[in-house]
């Protein structure tokens, strides 16, 4: 892949070559801890994300024990949970804390920071041909704000009154009143402080991603030659920049209500034997503000995973992604729509029913671009020459989840049906498949695929296969039966259902779900072993192990700061020239000019001079 054989802007290269030298001499702490190198920052995000994923998963196993085996004696957990275990039972308030923290951790710390933070940072400069992010310093700050936010959230798990426990959506008044639930005391304060830093981190990261993609693309890398990963990260960052500030404002008003006696969300409350002074506020206002972030957040989590999948499916099917432009349009359409559907989370809050019908209409429109994406993935597989790397397996798994979970969203988007299904396990099943598992699979696919670029070594394939099949089957075993439980009407966030005749069934199904959850959780340690083992002892990778077209595979095995030792390669074609008719090899990297491939060029394809 002789990429650097053409004319190039010399001045830029010289400047960077100089830069490059400086960084080699950096002290250890600047190189690996307070690093401004996007690749190191990406790894920091990834490892933090893995740690959070284990904690978040462990919390879910704890409450699944309660739900699957309500009569079991949990005294053996006392060394871990201390006073949260009373008489061998999980404390009901701690149960709510577990659910809340599981949601918060998974949505924000794993699937937002761990996914976007890792792959946007790692891939944007490498795939667009840039030396680093537009601002390495802000990028470093972005990680360390995230770290601070993580530390505070982590500490809140260990305080006496427990972490925030009003659900990850922290609806006031429950989250505003420590009288209502213990977790709304110090735990909630720490949640709000932590999330504030988290939002700062996300904004710093997002601004950097957008600036870098717009300004630092290498020669020839037009927007229509960007890999779909970059398109996905680009749109995701824009969604984040537009929606996270709204969460910050919602949180800020909540802080005012909690600490300074204002009444933004509180009105006419009598609690703990006294009437509060607050009048005129609206708890529904918070829900509008929260879901104005909350719904786009779903796509902030999902779109990067879809981008990663597009890249991996095309590479391993040895085919161009079907409908490249349709893929971009559908991402943009989904991103746009994601801002105007938020109230479908609020059909039964007493909101004006007419608004309900508008939001039903807008919500169901999202099904169209989503369907286009699903069809395009399937069409890409059609008549491919498919290589099943672990990354490819996880990508196919993602498409399956995207379809299954997306379809149930159409049911929930219908306001009349949502009356019965709202806040039941049907909703839990729906979003865990389409947003939780699909995004998680995107993240795993990304790690398997770009591990050789990150660490210069390969992960073990067979362990990857075992990990995939256990997780894939496990996820369906956990979440498919949850639909049944939801259709039967079981409400979510219930510590136990035995109080009700209507919900006093399905104990066998709940047991099955819990066992599947535990097995799936334990299987993740296969991945964690594989990950850390391969960093040190994996086979040394070749330069382009998947025979991929994109730019990152033109860097050295261990790219230093600045990524390319010499000039940045120029780009001449789109990234999906796989199995092009006439070409001997089944891939043509983006750095090969058309002048070198006369045998496979289409009539309109020639180099722009």
């Amino acid at each position: 892949m002789s990429a650097v054989d053409t004319l190039h802007s010399g001045s830029l290269t010289d400047a960077h070559a100089h830069d490059h030298h400086d960084h080699e001499d950096l002290p250890w702490i600047r190189k690996y801890v307070f690093s401004e190198d996007h690749k190191i920052i990406a790894k920091q995000y990834l490892i933090s994300g893995i740690i959070w994923a284990v904690i978040g998963g462990l919390l879910s196993v704890l409450f699944r024990l309660q739900l699957g085996f309500p009569d079991a004696d949990l005294t053996w957990l006392k060394p871990l949970l201390g006073e949260w275990i009373q008489n061998g039972k999980l404390d009901p308030e701690f149960y709510l804390a577990l659910v809340t923290m599981h949601g918060t951790i998974m949505v924000f710390f794993v699937l937002t920071a761990g996914l976007s933070g890792t792959f946007s940072n790692f891939l944007i400069p490498l795939q667009i041909g840039a030396r680093d992010m537009a601002s390495g310093f802000l990028n470093m700050l972005s990680y360390w704000f995230f770290f601070l936010s993580s530390a505070i959230m982590m500490m809140s798990l260990f305080i006496k009154t427990g972490p925030a426990s009003g659900g990850w959506v922290i609806y006031p008044p429950l989250s505003a009143l420590p009288q209502a639930i213990e977790g709304s005391g110090l735990g909630m304060t720490m949640w709000l402080v932590s999330m504030t830093f988290f939002i700062v981190s996300t904004l710093l990261g997002g601004l950097n991603y957008v600036t870098t993609i717009i300004n630092l693309r290498t020669k020839g890398m037009t927007f229509t030659r960007l890999p779909l990963t970059i398109w996905a990260f680009f749109i995701t960052a824009i969604i984040g920049i537009l929606s996270f500030p709204v969460l910050l404002s919602a949180a800020l008003l909540l802080v005012f209500d909690r600490s300074f006696g204002t009444s933004f969300y509180l009105s006419e409350i009598y609690i703990g034997g006294e009437a509060l002074h607050n009048e005129g506020g609206s708890p529904i206002l918070f829900q509008h503000l929260f879901w104005f972030l909350g719904h786009p957040e779903v796509y902030i989590v999902l779109i990067p995973a879809l981008g990663i999948t597009s890249e991996i499916v095309a590479t391993n099917s040895r085919k161009p992604i079907f409908g490249y432009k349709a893929m971009i349009f559908s991402i943009v359409a989904i991103a746009f729509l994601s801002f105007i559907v938020w109230a479908h989370h609020m059909f039964v809050t007493g909101m004006n029913p007419f608004l309900g019908s508008i939001f039903m209409f807008l919500t169901l429109i999202i099904a169209v671009p989503s369907a286009v994406k699903a069809f395009n993935y399937i069409a890409t597989l059609w008549r491919g020459n498919i290589v099943f790397t672990p990354a490819m397996l996880f990508s196919i798994g993602l498409v399956s989840f995207f379809i299954s979970g997306g379809l149930t969203g159409i049911v929930l988007g219908n306001s009349a049906v949502d009356i019965q299904l709202h806040d039941t396990y049907f909703v839990v099943a729906h979003f865990h498949i389409v947003m939780g598992s699909a995004s998680f699979f995107g993240m795993l696919a990304g790690v398997y695929h770009w591990f050789p670029k990150m660490f210069g070594r390969m992960m073990d394939e067979r362990l990857g296969y075992i990990h995939f099949w256990l997780t894939f089957i496990g996820v369906y075993l956990i979440f498919f039966p949850m639909h049944y439980i939801g259709i039967a009407g079981f409400p979510r966030r219930y510590y136990s259902w035995t109080n009700f005749d209507a919900f006093n069934s399905f104990t066998d199904l709940n047991e099955l779900i819990s066992i599947a959850a535990i097995i799936t959780f334990v299987s993740q340690f296969i991945f964690i072993f594989n990950f850390f083992y391969s960093i040190f002892k994996g086979r040394v990778s070749s330069l382009n192990p998947w025979n991929s077209n994109t730019l990152e595979w033109t860097t050295p095995l261990h790219p230093g700061h600045g990524n390319w030792p010499g000039e940045i390669p120029a780009v001449y074609r789109w990234p999906y020239d796989y199995s092009k008719p006439g070409s001997a090899a089944d891939f043509i990297p983006q750095t090969i000019p058309f002048s070198q491939t006369p045998e496979s060029n289409f009539p309109h394809e020639k180099d722009e001079e």
Partner: protein
């Protein structure tokens, strides 16, 4: 001691697994398997997609059959029957889509798995196909929107005149209901009037308050529209009547409502489900704290005649708590409504102590207001 043994055992098992893995890697290196671009694993994985798909569909079918009698328990309201139909119509279309797309998604990997010498088909786009599969979902969605809007509009339109008005109030952690009594009008309330006795904060300056009654169960008339006026007094709760397909949040400071028509009485439902102990229930579906999962309230659907009889038999709350109400109501209303029920002279307000209450809570509350 046992835990130490367990830890040692786990450590041993893990190290054995590690050794097996390490030996596997080394034999692969010796056999030169890593030199191949695509190994036997590729074929195995492609077959597994078929196996998992077939077994998965089988499991789907069997589990569905065994669980279906618990799905959507018999709808006991007029709109419930309609939304259930809507649900199943949407669900059948989606199941079809689910089966087709997943079948393709699992069979393509099998059919087009890597074969040495094969070349993939370069097929970057086809506008006709793309247009078709954009338009088809759009048409289906349009159908769902129209159908769904029709039902939603009917459910959320204003309650018919003459609907039975009942107030449902959520608090941590119980539901309470209030009926308007003989005059058909609920008395006013204000949250500052709430105390340990007057949990609804009923305003006894309002003449309509005196015949309101607060039963221990929610009784509903069969065949007559019922309008629930819903509120909460501390945090958000949500009224969920699973058999009636009713759900509406109870929000402090923002009253909400939901109307529906019950169609099956409790007795009829007992016969229908072959369960002599069957009862309708009211649950909470918005997380509200420690006791969220235990906010059960009994619901009874009576034939219209029985319902009227039951209503007539209920004593007004003012009469049951006359001594308390006497301290809150103006003289004129007191003389008119309370004098038969007072146990102490109404003028002696200093001696009045609330009836039927937890006196400790009251004194604590009074202390805190001072």
């Amino acid at each position: 001691m046992i835990s130490v043994i367990i830890i040692i055992a786990i450590a041993l098992i893990l190290s054995i697994l590690y050794l097996v893995f390490r030996i596997g890697v080394l034999t692969n290196v010796l056999n030169g398997r890593y030199h191949k671009h695509v190994g036997i694993g590729n074929t195995v994985n492609s077959f597994l997609f078929i196996v998992v798909f077939v077994l998965g569909i089988l499991a789907f079918y069997l589990s569905f059959e065994s669980a279906r009698d618990k799905f959507l328990p018999d709808a006991a309201s007029e709109h419930g029957v309609k939304t259930d139909l809507l649900f199943w119509v949407i669900m059948s279309v989606l199941t079809l889509a689910f089966l087709i797309t997943n079948a393709l998604l699992y069979f393509f990997p099998f059919m087009y798995r890597f074969k040495e010498g094969n070349k993939a088909y370069f097929y970057p786009d086809n506008h006709t196909i793309e247009r078709v599969w954009t338009i088809i979902p759009a048409i289906v969605m349009a159908g769902f929107v129209v159908y769904g809007y029709k039902e939603w509009h009917a459910i959320t339109s204003p309650a018919p005149k003459g609907a039975e008005v009942i107030e449902v109030m959520g608090k941590q952690f119980a539901w309470q209901v209030r009926y308007p009594g003989a005059d058909g009008k609920l008395g006013k309330y204000h949250y500052r009037k709430i105390d340990a006795v007057n949990e609804f904060g009923i305003d006894f300056n309002d003449v309509n308050s005196f015949d309101d009654f607060l039963p221990m169960e929610l009784h509903l008339p069969k065949g007559k529209p019922v309008l629930l006026e819903i509120r909460a007094r501390d945090v958000i709760h949500s009224v969920f009547l699973p058999h009636f397909r009713v759900k509406m949040d109870a929000v402090p400071g923002m009253p909400t409502k939901f109307w529906f028509t019950p169609t099956i009485s409790t007795e009829e439902m007992r016969a229908k489900t072959n369960n002599p102990n069957f009862n309708y229930e009211l649950a909470c579906t918005e997380v509200c704290g420690r006791g969220h999962y235990a906010m059960r309230y009994l619901v009874v659907v009576d034939e219209l005649v029985d319902y009227e009889k039951w209503k007539a038999s209920q004593k007004t709350w003012a009469s049951l708590n006359a001594d308390y109400v006497a301290t809150k109501a103006p003289e004129a209303l007191k003389d008119k409504y309370l004098k038969d029920f007072l146990t102490k002279p109404a003028t002696d307000t200093t001696l009045v102590s609330p009836v039927n209450t937890d006196s400790a809570a009251v004194s604590k509350m009074q202390a805190s207001t001072k």
